[in-house]
Amino acid sequence: MTRNLFDEPMRRRELLQGGAGLALALGLAGCGVGEEGATSDKKQTERVVKAEPDGDLVYFNWSQYMEPKLIKAFEKRYGVKVRESNFDSMQGMMAKLRSGNRYDVIFPSSEWVDRLRKANQLLRIDPEQVPNASTVYDYFAKPWYDPQADHTIPYALYATGIIYRKDKVEMTGSWNDIGLDTARGRAYLLDDYQEVLGAGNLVNGAELNETDEAAVAKAKQWALDLKPTLRGFSTEDVTNMVNGNAWVHHGWNGDVVNIRNQVKRPENYSFVKCSEGIPLGTDCFAIPANAEHPGTALTFINFILDPENASKNIEYMGYPMPYEGPDATFAALVKDDPEIDVTIEDLENGQQFANLGAAGRRTWDRAWTEIKAA
């Protein structure tokens, strides 16, 4: 018998899309104002903020994505309260931000950093205020989403590949393994348009973020050809693997750590980064332009980046953090299956999800809708 679904709180990427319906109903009323007024003054976002506590921290993150003991320790050490709320998708996070809610620290993915930064929605982070950031990989000195590296600090890395049952299927290490005959009816693609079309692009030898119509049509066809062998589209890779419905699951590396913590035979659950290319993503710390307590936010970021704290955090959340020192903690966590780790070489060879731009997003969205509707 499997664990009851309710035992385990939702992990970072297991979005409860059902619940999103309610959030939507609530959000709609708030977001009726459209986006025209969303851009704030650039000067205002450039001011230097000192890392000194200036009030309670209003914290907005995925659920179960940070060690709660660290949050308690921060409260105790600095004498402030952390007021925590959670989002269950980037779109959900944005809906809250757009409707004028004020947060001190948020955790956008790199693509959303790019979009928020360009709209002057993020406060500048003076590197001198976060001394512990010196351990961040040099790779992030000039990330594409934040060229000056002065609006964000990377929080965690994730790589997309295939999670599989070693005792059930023989993998070749290709994206096409999702359609393996031995996993027919027990294979899932992620319910995420960027992940599916991105993987399709990689299989077809295109760039991960290719938006050219013909390339996207080919990526769409790849997914449509897989569809008859699938059991579903789902972002709940942990649940689907743990309850035995999936033998092969398009999914995220850190989720394998969570799966292994929940099953009787963890050695049967593995992860492969596919040979045609590895999509990579970064989640970041960022401070919204309208934050009320940016000083506390900077103090908090520096506190989490403390190597000892970061190590504890990695053990809790199961995703690698790109810091020299704490990265050894993740490597130790997956030492029997190093494939789960994301190394500096992976970062250099992999491809990061980019901001597709309005027209590109439209093309991808149409292809995705056709995949789902068919």
């Binding site: 679904l5 009726g32 969303a38 969205d365």
Partner: protein
């Protein structure tokens, strides 16, 4: 207007205000959004883009609508098949325990539909409780099939069928059945010629109450469905959360409401006609 009319009119104020604030105004926002265009930060920018509506008539969406209507019709049929006998038993043979039995019908609805659907997923998964109890070598695949989706819908909306049918049966004068029997009707022909027509309006109300939410449902297909069980509700949900296309999602919502409204009007006209015939 008499004093009594004015007094009665005041009773409409709380409900009217409620509907205005939580239905009418949001619906106007949805209509405004449906003519907008997606913004850079995932929201919508207002404008005049009627192509959101013309896109909805793309033939690729025909199977989605057909599937939704098909699942909803199957759900209504199953709810009727399961719900009518339950309502019949409670109304006619429930005796002193009538109210307790009705409370038991309603009890599961104290738990959120979403949570109950998650519970189904836990029960029916390949290594779930049901397959564990069956103990077969090869687990039966219940989940991620159209049947699982329809099952989830039936479970979710069954009470909406039982309650109006029960109300109709409860209102019915039991002497009618005795009269049918006195006229040498068999049990079955008495049911068919007396009970069924008398309670038909209740059945119709149940049908509408089950059909309308079922056809727009997305939870069941999301949690229990497979790659080929995409419904209109999923399509709309997807526009808001996956595709960041609120305007198209809003346009689909408006069209869906128009579609459901047609059925609602047909029902109301039928109910009004029945009421006229009853008093005539």
């Amino acid at each position: 207007m008499t004093d009594a009319d004015r007094f009665a009119g005041r009773f409409l104020i709380p409900g009217g205000l409620w509907l205005l604030i939580f239905f009418a105004i949001p619906f106007v926002i949805v209509i405004a959004l449906s003519f907008g265009t997606p913004g850079e930060l995932g929201g919508a920018v207002y404008g005049w883009y009627p192509e959101n509506y013309s896109r909805a008539f793309d033939p690729i969406f025909v199977p989605v609508l057909a599937r939704s209507v098909g699942y909803a019709v199957a759900t209504v049929a199953l709810c009727l098949l399961l719900g009518y006998p339950v309502a019949y038993y409670i109304a006619l043979f429930g005796g002193r325990r009538k109210h307790l039995l009705i409370a038991l019908v309603v009890l599961p609805f104290f738990v959120n539909y979403l949570v109950r659907t998650y519970a189904w997923a836990a029960l029916l998964s390949d290594e779930g409780i049901v397959n564990g109890a069956l103990g077969l070598n090869e687990p039966i695949r219940f989940l991620n099939t159209p049947w699982a989706v329809i099952g989830g819908l039936v479970y979710g909306y069954l009470a909406f069928m039982i309650l109006p049918v029960y109300a109709a049966l409860d209102r019915m004068d039991p002497a009618l059945i005795e009269a049918g029997k006195d006229l040498y009707g068999s049990n079955w022909s008495t049911f068919w010629h007396v009970t069924w027509p008398t309670t038909f309006q209740g059945v119709l109300a149940g049908t509408v109450l089950v059909f309308l939410p079922a056809v727009g449902d997305f939870v069941s297909a999301q949690l229990l469905g497979g790659p080929g069980t995409y419904m209109v509700g999923n399509l709309i949900q997807q526009q808001f959360f996956g595709a960041e296309n609120w305007p198209f999602g809003a346009a689909l919502t408006v069209l869906m409401m128009a579609f459901l409204f047609v059925w609602m009007v047909l029902y109301l006209r039928s109910a009004a006609r029945a009421a006229r015939e009853a008093t005539a």
